[in-house]
């Protein structure tokens, strides 16, 4: 058992084992008695330790369901979801989840919000505040440590949510369209920030997104999903060099990879075409 404040030391592992595995996962929601909605079908996906995987797919294809299964808020109807070889039964401290909107508690300051995971875990609050201060500064929230969440913009709140997720030094970071509500400019900056944070922290990341270019920019692998029930249509490796930065965005390989993902959504008349740019 590892304390949430110890560094994970993953970089030393010579041959990284799979961190998060979905094996033959189906998920059905019970809507009414005998009526079910099939959200996911036959998902087979393994994330290597330290890997960054983006998932794109049309609205309602089960992306959020996939993450809720991984974090243990849901149990699969069939198949298994496992982390480090153990099946996921409930939320765990080494897995952090970033929600679609920031979910900050308005009665707490930004500092209190981001240190909440440590407070709940009963960790060392003085240390937590120190680390939170550094992380907040790093994501550009200097001077807002004691502001209330209401005083922040949507993008600033989302950055605070990222800091909150990193506080426990998670091995796995799950993000559900974290920048969905942001404008294109803020989003680009957030992606640059996220790329450097992910590279520095070395954690395994599963990111759900609606933006093809951000999926490609951030990931080692992009998973494209079909409309409901969500299946994996294709997995595309992204061999772009790291660290990723503004130069990555200008590389011709980057544009080619984006096009390859985009093709999935551009069959004329297909259901998936309408969902994307």
């Amino acid at each position: 058992m590892q304390s949430p404040l110890e560094p994970t030391g993953l970089a030393l592992d010579p041959k990284p084992p799979a961190a998060l595995v979905f094996h033959d996962v189906d998920h059905e929601y019970y809507v009414r008695r005998s009526a079910t909605v099939r959200a996911l079908a036959g998902i087979e996906l393994a994330l290597a330790t330290g890997e960054f995987v983006s998932v794109v797919g049309p609205s309602g294809c089960g992306k959020t369901t996939l993450l809720r299964l991984a974090v243990g808020l849901l149990r699969p109807s069939r198949g298994t979801v496992s982390i480090g070889g153990e099946p996921v039964r409930s939320p765990r401290r080494d897995v952090s989840f970033i929600f679609q909107d920031a979910v900050m508690l308005p009665w707490f300051s930004v500092m209190e919000n981001v240190t909440l995971p440590i407070r709940i875990a009963g960790g060392d609050m003085a240390m937590a505040r120190l680390r939170a201060g550094e992380l907040l500064d790093r994501v550009g929230l200097t001077g807002f440590h004691n502001a209330t969440p209401m005083q922040l913009s949507g993008g600033m709140r989302q950055r605070a949510a990222i800091v909150r997720a990193l506080m426990t030094r998670p091995r796995i970071l799950l993000m559900d369209e974290p920048f969905g509500a942001l404008d294109a400019l803020t989003r680009e900056q957030m992606n640059l920030d996220l790329a450097s944070i992910a590279e520095a922290s070395g954690c395994t990341v599963l990111l759900i997104t609606h933006g093809i270019s951000e999926a490609v920019f951030l990931a080692n692998r992009v998973v494209v999903m079909t409309p409901r029930p969500g299946r994996i249509a294709e997995m595309i490796d992204i061999p772009l060099p790291r660290p990723r930065n503004r130069r990555t965005l200008a590389a011709p390989e980057f544009a080619a990879l984006c096009d390859r993902v985009r093709e999935h959504f551009q069959h004329p008349g297909s259901e998936m075409a309408s969902a994307y740019e």
């Binding site: 808020l73 939320p91 401290r93 929600f99 979910v103 508690l105 308005p106 709940i120 209401m150």
Partner: protein, 268 residues
């Protein structure tokens, strides 16, 4: 150049503060004039000057103090006991799930019975002293706080509870960090209703039978056909009601510092 908006509203606030007393004086003056000019019988309508005199002698000759003390004691202790019980029972009922859901419709049904109607019964049981009044006020204030606590705590913000689940918060942490603050606004709505009912309750209980209290004073004034004295007590009641409401609101603003205050600095 335009002055900043906060300054405009502050100036407007000051203007309002000046207009309001002027308006009050004008209304009182008009009232006085009408009563004199139309030769209204003093039994029907008292002049503001007579009411002021009644208030003055009431305080100076010491008539009011014991009555005021009695009513305030009944109101405040009944309110404190009733709302504390309402809060605790509300928490218990929502925390112990199924039982609470079964109970809730009955509580709403009881809530719609006018509790003041039990005043004669309670006085018959507990006598003419303070005790019976405090019990009635407790009964009256208990229900709005209870119902508001239950309905406030029953609203579940999925995002916030999911956050707590993901952070592995236990039940007590979820309650303290999320559910109680989420419900606080609704609980305070119950308290504001309860504090006004507390005053009503103590007066009605005094009507039903008491030795001391502003309700007793009102009945005495009525028996003496002293309209000015009755108005004087009404003025006292208005002041008490206003002060109590403002106290609850002040407490809310203090404790619930995060709730957005709309129309701040703009009383219009």
């Amino acid at each position: 150049m335009q002055p900043p908006l906060s300054m405009v509203s502050r100036l407007r606030g000051q203007a309002n503060r000046a207009v309001m007393p002027a308006l009050a004086i004008a209304v009182l003056g008009l009232w006085e004039l009408m009563v004199v000019a139309l030769k209204v019988s003093p039994l029907v309508m008292a002049k503001p000057s007579d009411i002021a005199t009644a208030l003055w002698t009431g305080f100076v000759e010491g008539l009011y103090w014991t009555h005021l003390a009695a009513t305030l004691t009944e109101m405040v202790s009944g309110f404190l006991i009733g709302s504390a019980l309402g809060l605790v029972c509300g928490l218990a009922i929502t925390e112990f799930g199924r039982f609470g859901r079964l109970l809730f419709p009955y509580l709403v049904a009881i809530q719609s019975i006018p509790k003041v109607a039990t005043a004669p019964l309670i006085i018959m049981w507990l006598g003419f002293g303070l005790q019976s009044k405090i019990v009635l006020v407790t009964l009256i204030t208990f229900f709005p706080v209870l119902i508001n606590t239950i309905s406030g705590l029953s609203v579940v913000d999925r995002m916030r509870t999911d956050l707590m689940a993901v952070l592995l918060a236990n039940r007590w942490q979820t309650f303290l960090l999320v559910r109680l603050p989420s419900a606080a606004h609704q609980i305070f709505a119950g308290l504001s209703v309860a504090v006004v009912l507390a005053l009503t309750g103590s007066i009605v209980a005094e009507f039903a039978g008491a030795q001391r209290g502003l309700g007793v004073l009102l009945l005495q004034a009525q028996a003496n056909l002293d309209t000015a004295a009755m108005f004087a007590v009404l003025v006292l009641l208005a002041i008490i009601g206003l002060a109590a409401t403002m106290a609850v609101r002040g407490l809310e603003r203090r404790l619930l510092y995060w709730t957005e205050r709309r129309n701040e600095g703009d009383p219009t």
